[in-house]
Symmetry: C2
Subunit: 642 residues, 2 copies
C-alpha cells in the first residue's frame, strides 16, 4: 500500500477543507507570529530568537524548552504541505528566511541544535534520554523533506543531510560509535521519509538501527545517566527500568503501550514504516500487537490516548479515567499518523476508522473554531472549578490557550491538517482505497493506468457519498471503506444495486468505467455507546456518537452539575443540522433528567434513605470537537443512564 | 463543658474495649519494637537511635524524617493513657528509658529536637515552615502531660517545661523575639493541655500567640524563606500565598478548610481549646465556620478528610473523589479530637455523631484486626491494579503496611484508642452527657454531687443501651446523645415510658435516682445513603450504612470489577450478626446485579447500541473498617444504583 500523494488530490469545500482553510488563513500566519514572539500575552516561543543567536546574529541566551527547535520544524512542515494546495509567497519567504537562519546556525560538522549550541556544545549527545536532540533532528528532517516535496528547493534538505551524516557517524553498532537512541522517538520515522526521497540505504539503516537497538542490555539510558552522574529521570515508580522511554525491553518484546504517549506512538510509526520498507515480519507483528493494545484497551472514545498527566503517559489496559485523563493533542495526532502507517502495511478499514476517530474528535478538539486558541490536554469531562482548585486536575485547562511554553501541539495540528490531501486515498496494484470521505477530485497513476474520480459528500454531517468516475482503465478497482459504526448502508452503481465483495472493512467495486456514478449511503443514526465492562470508569455511563463524531454535553446548553444529568439509552434521539451553531453542526437532543437540588439544604452532605428526585429537561449534545467555543463551562462526554 | 476524665470511667468488654485491648496487647509493644528498629522488613523508625545519638551515647547520623521525634512522643502518649486502665511495668520502664534518653539529649538551654541536634544546630528555628520543630515540641509536650497524668511522674514534664521556656523566650511579639509560628500546627493544643496542669498563664498566652499571629502581614513563612534563600515550599499552585500552611490569612478570616488536612484540623483543635479557655467568641465563630465547612462540604461518608494526595490536603467544597482520595488516618483522628474540642465549647449531638463516624469508620480502618498492619491512606475505593500501575492512585496501598518511613498514623491511632475512657462522657453543671455508647461504669463529681452509672450495650452492632443509675444527687441530669441517623427510638425509665426534653441532639432525663434503669433503644435499620447532588463524584451512587457504621463491598465476597455492581436503594437489606466473621460483624446482604461480560470479546472497547446485560447475585457488605483483613482485593463504598 502506498499513499496517493497530496499533489494528486484536490480538496473541494467540505468539513476537511474548512479545517485546511482555517489552518492556512489563521494558524500558519498566527503561529509564525508566535515563533517570532510577536503575539502579545502569549507564552514566548523563542524559536527564531534562538536560531539567530546560534547563527551569531544576535546575542541572546537560549529560551524555552530543550526541544524548542521542533516547534519551528513542525511549522515549516505544516506550511510546506500547505504550499502544495495553496501557493503563498509570503509563507514561502518566511520559510526561506528560517532556512537561511538554520544554514547560518549550522556548525561546520553539521550539528544543529540551538539548545546545545547556546548552552554548552561540549555536552552534546551526552543526554539522549532527556534532551530531545534526536527528536529535534527528526522534526527538522520532516520539515526539510516536506519543503523539498512542496517546492523542490534543496537548501533545507542539504542542511539536514549534513546533520544526518553527523548523526550517522556518531551512532551505531560500529566500533567507536555510541550505541544510543533517542529518549523521545521521532527521528526513526523521519529517516524513512528521507530514505523515500534519497533511496540511500544508509538512511533506512539508521532508522532501523535506532529501533533495533532500543531497550537492549546494558541499557543505554542507564549507562548514559551513570556517566553523567545523573538520576533516573522519569525512570522511576511505575515507569522504572526506563520503561517510560519504551526502553525497558527491545521493541519486539514490548507487550503493551507504556510510558510517554507521544513517544510511544511516534516509535510505533517509525516501526511500521521500517517494517514496510524492509518487510520485517517480526516488527510488523510488534506493531499489530501494540495497535491492538492501544485501540482495544487504552484509547478513549474520543481518540484521546495517554491516561495520566504524570509523565503524559499511558497507564494500563482498561484504565480510562475521564476526569484525570491527559489526552494530549499531539498523542491523538500521532495516532492518526500511526493509523496511516498501519494502512501502509495492510489495507484494513479499522485503520481508517481510527483516522476518522482522531480527525473528527480528539485532534481538532485541540483548536478553536477560529484557529487561534489551543488545547494541549483534551479531557472527557471538565468542571472548571476542579481545574482551578484541585491539583490533580489542574492540567485540564477549562479554556483553550493562546500558546504554551511547551507548544508542541498547535504546529502538530497544523501539519496534520495541511497534509490531509495526502491522507484520503491509498493504492495498491490496480486498487484505489478511499479511506476518508470528503469532497475532492483525484487523479492518480495505478499499476494498470490512470484513474480519476470526483467525490461529493456532507460527511461527517451525513453518510451519503456520491462518486463519479472520470477516468478509468481495464481492471481498475475502487475500495470504499465501510466504517465500523455502519450497521446498514445502500450502494448503487448508475442507479442500480450492485454486487460487491466485502473484505477487511472495505467494499470493492470492480471494473469501473469512466462515467460510472456510485451512490454510497452509510446510514447514520444516533448511537448510544457503552464501554467494555472492564473499564470501571465508564460503568453505568453512556456516550453519544453519530457516525464518527463523538458528542458531549456543555453547560451552556444544559446547565451545570452535568454529573447529575442522566438519559435513557432507549431515548428517542433527535438529530438536527444547525447551520449557524458552532460553524454548522448536527445537534442531538433527547429527553433527560437531572437530580433536583430541591430539599437539599446546604448543610446536609449525606442523607439517609432519601432517593434523588429528578427534574425533566431536554439534553442537547454538541460534537465534542466543538466544545468550549462559547465561553468557559462544564463539559462531559460520558453521561449517566437511567 | 469538660471531659469526664479517664480515671472516672471503667471500660467493660465491648466493641471499644476490644480496640483498647488490641492496642494494649499488640500495638503498644509492637510499636515500641519498631521505634527501636527491631521489626524485620519494616521501614526503619530511627527514633531511639536518633535520641541516643543526640545524647552522645552512640555515633550515628540522624535517620528518618525531620519530624521523627514525634513518633516516639505519640507512642509515649498512647502508652501513658493505657497505663491509666492497664498498669504495665514493662511499658512504664520503656517510657522511663525513653525519658531518660531525652533528658540526656536535651541541651543546656532546653532545646530538644534530634533533627537539628544531629544535622546542624546553628540552623534551628530558621525553617518553621518545613521542618516541624514546633510540631515535634507539641507532641513531646502532649506525651509529657499524658505521662504525668497517668503516673504523676514529673521527669518528662520537667524536660518539656524547660523546652517550652526556651520556645517562649524565642517566639512572640515582644522586641527581639521571632514572630514565628509552626508550619505544622500541634503545639497550640499541647500548650493548652500544659496550661490545664500548670495553670501558668504564660502557657495559654503562648498558645494564643501562635494562633493569633498566624497569617499576619508580612507573612512570616515568606520572610523566613527569603532569609534562607529558599523557594516557596508547598506555597505554590493551588496553595499559593502560604495557604497550604493555613497562613494565607489570619485564622479568624479563613472561610474554608484548605491545605494540609492534619495541620488544618490540629490548628482548629488548638483554636477551639484556646477559645474555651479564654472565652474568645471570634475564635469560637471561626471554629464553627470551619467545622461546618469540613463536616458539611469536605468530609467523606467514612469520616475521611483530605481529598488529595498532592500535599495530603483539602481541595474545595463538594469535591469528594473516591478513587484519588487521601483520607489520612491521622486526619480522621484529628477530626475525632476536633469534635471533642467542639463539644468543650457547647454541647451538641452532632459533635458526638462525628466522633462516632470517625471511631467506627475512617480511623480504625487504619489498622488491621490484629493490630500490626496499618493504612496511612484510607480510600473509599480500591482496585489493586490501579494502585500498582497508575501513579495518581499509587498513594492508595491495597494492603496495610508493617510500618512507614513517615509513620505518624499508627501511634496516633494508638493514642486515640487508649484515651477512649476519657472520650465517653462530658459534663456541665449537674448534667452528665453520654456521647459514646459503650459498656462501662462511670463515677464522677458534678457540681451538685457525685453520680455513678453502669452502661451495657452491643453498640454499634445494635442500638439498645441499658443504663443503671448507681449513685445520684438532687438535680442530677443525664443527657443521652440522639444520633443523627436515628429515625425512631424508644426510651423507658424503670419499664415505663418517660417524658423527656430534647435539645441540640440530646435527650435529657431529669431527676434520676440511684437504682433507676433506663432502656434506650435506637432503632438501627440499614440505611441507603445518598450524597448531596453537588458532589459530582457520588452522582448515581449509594452507600450503605447501619447506625454509625459505613459498609463496603469487598472482592472476596462479591467478585472483582465492583464498579459493575449495582443495587436498588429499595432493595430488602438483610442484616445478620456473624460472630465468626471479621472479629464479629453485622453483615448486610441484598439482591444485586452485575454487568455481564458475556459477549464482550477482548477486542471490543466501545460497543454501539448494546445495552449492558446483567447477572443477578447477592451482594454482601461488610463494615468499612474491616476491609482488607482477608487478603488483597477490590473494595468499594459507593455503589451504583439501578
Amino acid at each position: 500500500m502506498r499513499k496517493v500523494p497530496a499533489n494528486d488530490v484536490y480538496m473541494r469545500p467540505s468539513f476537511l477543507r474548512t479545517l485546511m482553510d482555517r489552518v492556512a488563513d489563521k494558524m500558519i500566519p498566527y503561529q509564525w507570529e508566535t515563533l517570532n514572539d510577536r503575539v502579545p500575552d502569549a507564552a514566548p516561543s523563542y524559536c527564531i530568537r534562538n536560531l539567530k543567536a546560534a547563527a551569531g546574529l544576535i546575542d541572546a541566551p537560549h529560551g524555552g524548552c530543550v526541544f524548542q527547535d521542533s516547534d519551528l520544524a513542525k511549522w515549516i512542515e505544516a506550511a510546506s504541505y500547505m504550499l502544495i494546495w495553496r501557493r503563498d509567497a509570503a509563507t514561502e519567504a518566511n520559510i526561506d528566511y528560517a532556512v537561511e537562519l538554520m544554514e547560518k546556525a549550522q556548525m561546520a560538522d553539521g550539528y544543529l541544535d540551538t539548545y546545545y549550541q547556546l548552552t554548552g556544545i561540549e555536552k552534546r549527545f551526552t543526554n539522549l534520554r532527556d534532551n530531545h536532540e534526536l527528536y529535534c533532528a527528526g522534526h527538522l528532517l520532516e520539515g526539510a523533506v516536506a519543503y523539498y516535496e512542496a517546492t523542490g528547493k534543496r537548501r533545507f534538505l542539504d542542511v539536514m543531510l549534513r546533520y544526518i551524516d553527523l548523526i550517522d557517524a556518531t551512532f551505531g553498532l560500529e566500533d567507536g560509535k555510541k550505541k544510543g537512541y533517542p529518549g523521545h522517538e521521532e527521528i526513526e520515522l523521519a529517516l524513512v521519509k528521507l530514505y523515500q526521497i534519497t533511496k540511500d540505504p544508509k538512511h533506512l539503516r539508521l532508522a532501523k538501527y535506532f529501533i533495533d537497538e532500543r531497550g537492549s542490555t546494558p541499557n543505554y539510558f542507564a549507562e548514559e545517566a551513570k556517566a553523567r552522574g545523573d538520576g533516573p529521570g522519569w525512570s522511576r515508580s511505575v515507569y522504572s527500568e526506563n520503561r517510560y522511554y519504551q526502553a525497558g525491553a527491545p521493541v519486539r518484546e514490548q507487550q503493551s503501550a507504556l510510558g510517554h504517549a507521544v513517544r510511544q506512538v511516534y516509535l510505533l510509526i517509525g516501526m511500521a514504516e521500517v517494517a514496510r520498507e524492509t518487510g520485517d515480519e517480526t516488527l510488523k507483528a510488534a506493531c499489530d500487537r501494540m495497535w491492538k493494545d492501544i485501540t482495544r484497551r487504552q484509547m478513549y472514545i474520543t481518540g484521546a490516548v495517554g491516561q495520566t498527566a504524570f509523565g503524559e503517559a499511558f497507564t494500563f489496559d482498561y484504565d480510562l479515567p475521564n476526569d484525570t485523563v491527559y489526552g494530549e493533542t499531539c498523542a491523538s495526532i500521532a495516532m492518526f499518523f500511526f493509523a496511516q502507517s498501519m494502512l501502509g502495511l495492510s489495507p484494513n478499514g479499522e485503520y481508517g476508522d481510527v483516522m476518522d476517530t482522531m480527525l473528527y474528535n480528539g485532534t481538532i478538539s485541540g483548536m478553536n473554531l477560529e484557529g487561534n486558541r489551543f488545547f494541549y490536554v483534551n479531557p472527557l469531562e471538565c468542571v472548571p472549578m476542579r481545574s482551578l482548585k484541585s491539583q490533580i486536575i489542574s492540567h485540564i485547562r477549562p479554556e483553550r490557550q493562546k500558546w504554551f511554553g511547551c507548544a508542541c501541539c498547535p504546529p502538530n495540528l497544523a501539519r496534520m491538517i495541511t497534509k490531509l490531501p495526502g491522507s484520503v486515498f491509498t493504492e495498491a496494484d490496480d486498487t484505489l482505497y478511499m479511506n476518508l470521505f470528503t469532497c475532492c477530485d483525484a487523479e492518480t497513476e495505478l499499476s494498470g493506468g490512470k484513474a480519476a474520480l470526483g467525490c461529493d459528500t456532507r460527511y461527517p454531517c451525513d453518510g451519503r457519498v456520491s462518486i463519479k468516475i472520470k477516468r478509468s482503465f481495464e481492471g481498475f478497482r475502487l475500495a470504499l471503506r465501510l466504517p465500523g459504526w455502519v450497521k446498514s448502508y445502500t450502494l448503487t452503481l448508475n442507479g442500480a444495486s450492485v454486487v460487491t465483495v466485502m473484505d477487511d472493512g472495505y467494499i470493492f467495486l470492480d471494473q469501473l468505467k469512466a462515467g460510472d456514478a456510485i451512490e454510497y449511503d452509510m446510514h447514520m443514526p444516533v448511537n448510544a455507546v457503552f464501554a467494555h465492562p472492564a473499564v470501571s470508569q465508564d460503568a453505568g455511563l453512556v456516550a453519544i456518537k453519530r457516525g464518527p463524531v463523538v458528542y458531549c454535553l456543555e453547560e451552556i446548553d444544559n446547565g451545570d452539575m452535568l454529573s447529575n444529568v442522566s438519559i435513557s439509552p432507549d431515548a428517542e434521539f433527535k438529530a438536527d443540522f444547525l447551520p449557524d451553531k458552532l460553524g454548522g453542526i448536527v445537534e442531538i437532543s433527547c429527553p433527560a433528567k437531572r437530580v433536583s437540588l430541591a430539599g437539599w439544604d446546604e448543610y446536609e452532605l449525606y442523607a439517609l434513605d432519601r432517593k434523588p428526585c429528578y427534574d425533566d429537561f431536554t439534553a442537547r449534545f454538541v460534537p465534542y470537537y466543538s466544545w468550549n467555543n462559547r465561553g468557559k463551562g462544564e463539559m462531559r462526554v460520558w453521561v449517566r443512564t437511567h
